[in-house]
């Protein structure tokens, strides 16, 4: 069964929460517009700054967009709604899928807005370039979507926003979103290259030309997913007590 009605209302109620949606979308967009407009004609890492910074904000914004499902789940748990749904036949898989779809729709909206802003700043990419970046982002975001669900069932509503903010910042910093690498060689680089955020940044860089997304990227994303999904399922199944 595909549970289209359930999915529809999950999407609807998340997108009607316009304050939450607005904050999720506004954060990367406002940063991009502010910093992008000041540095419109600057060259950075061999490309025009608006191009570079668009991919950076896309990485940050989409990570935040999918992982922020955590806060919504934590709130649903706090109100007791999650437990009410636990005595229905709703399969765990359907529950997870709806949460991932909602996160991805938020991420997609973030990308569209940044692409529009980028275009306004004169960023021009061939259609295939846009599609490649989009496709790689959809793959690279999987671990963050699952991490959001996992954390949502682990931590309280009060801590959720703080935790996701911290995690996004940490992943972004280590992954090189802010335009510098924490390390360029040695074991620290090896660790960094094992982070999904590093490969999201690399996905963004395919738009800058001359970059590929190697097999290593696929392996890292797959490994995080393979570890996180069973963990999230386990935590979800266990999470039936009063909060």
């Amino acid at each position: 069964m595909t549970y289209p009605v359930y999915l529809r209302y999950e999407v609807l109620r998340n997108f009607r929460n316009w304050r939450f949606l607005f904050l999720t979308l506004a954060f990367p967009l406002v940063l991009y517009l502010l910093i992008g407009s000041v540095n419109r004609h600057v060259q950075f890492e061999g490309v025009a700054f608006p191009v570079y910074f668009m991919t950076a904000m896309a990485t940050l914004g989409t990570m935040a967009a999918v992982i922020s499902g955590c806060a919504i789940i934590a709130t649903e748990r706090a109100t007791g709604w999650t437990r009410q749904m636990r005595i229905t036949p709703l399969p765990a898989w359907t529950y997870f899928r709806a949460k991932v779809v909602v996160g991805y729709l938020r991420a997609l909206l973030t990308l569209v807005l940044l692409a529009l802003a980028g275009t306004a700043f004169g960023v021009r990419l061939p259609a295939q370039g846009w599609l490649t970046v989009l496709g790689l982002f959809l793959v690279g975001l999987i671990p963050f979507a699952v991490l959001g669900i996992l954390l949502g069932h682990l931590i309280g509503a009060d801590a959720a926003a703080l935790a996701t903010g911290g995690i996004v910042t940490l992943f972004a910093l280590l992954g090189g979103v802010y335009g510098f690498q924490v390390a360029t060689s040695g074991p620290v680089l090896a660790i960094i290259k094992a982070l999904p955020s590093y490969w999201l940044v690399q996905a963004g860089k395919t738009a800058l030309g001359g970059h590929d997304w190697p097999a290593e990227g696929w392996i890292v994303i797959a490994a995080w997913t393979v570890v996180l999904v069973p963990l999230a399922v386990r935590v979800y199944r266990r999470d039936t007590s009063r909060v």
Binding site: Y3, V5, Y6, Y9, E10, L12, R13, N14, R16, N17, E76, T79, G80, W81, R83, Q84, M85, R86, I87, T88, P89, L90, P91, T94, T240, S241, R242
Partner: protein
Amino acid sequence: MATSNAAGAGIVLSRLSKSYGNVHAVRSVDLAIAPGETVAILGPNGAGKTTTIEMVLGLTRPDSGTVTLFGKSPAQAVAAGAVGGMLQTGALVEYLSVRELVTMVASVYPRPLPVEHAMRLAGVTEFAERRTNKLSGGQTQRVRFAIALVSNPDLFMLDEPTAAIDVEGRREFWASIRAVAAEGKTVIFATHYLEEADAYADRIVLMARGRIVADGPATEIKARVSGRIIRATIPVAGPAGPAGPADTAALAALPGVTNAERHGEAVILTCADSDLTLRALLSRFPAARDIEVAGAGIEEAFMALTADDNDDELEKVR
């Protein structure tokens, strides 16, 4: 128990126990409920009602013992859509109208009632288009009832379902429950109102301190817990009255007494008819003094019913 055999395919709790730290929330509960029964679990706060219900629903894992629902485990029964209900706590998700929310829940059940029908039964039709965060406490509770109804399960589990509903609303609520019960659904509800249990249940299961202390037809249980309590001081070694020594057996044999206890000189009699008991007490045991008659609240009635149990507990502590 007469119902045990009939409950083969119903709800069976077997030696069910659950502790939270040092608190024995539920202690070795055995219970069999036949399909189609309407059963009230009656008890004061902390009696173990909610923990029992949550173990039946599979939300709480028992420390020991088993639950079977219609021959299945709780998880299997839930997955089959055989269970629906109202938990004690649980707000509604926001950003949906009442109708949308009821439709959403209906969509995950295999055999839901028509949404309009469930909303009418629960009395939420007039605010069906309102967002769930704009409802009063009573309206919220009705929507939660609509969710339980639309699920159209074989077993309704209702944990203090009429909390926050006004008197008029309660009448409508119970009328709908009766309609559901008449269709052959099994209904289990927890309450701490004796009147509610008496008026709407076929059978009352009385819980106190994690145990079932009485189980039977509503009328019988009502007689046991709705009486008065007489407290008196009667010397143990004093001159025996016309009825012989005032031991527990003699006190329990007084007319109108449902339970007698003696702690040293202090005597506590739980009475179905305290007037009758008092007259007999004074004539048979003239040495009785410091007599007090008090209405037995349900808590006191439970205390009386579980007094021995309490002593056990003290023994263990020592």
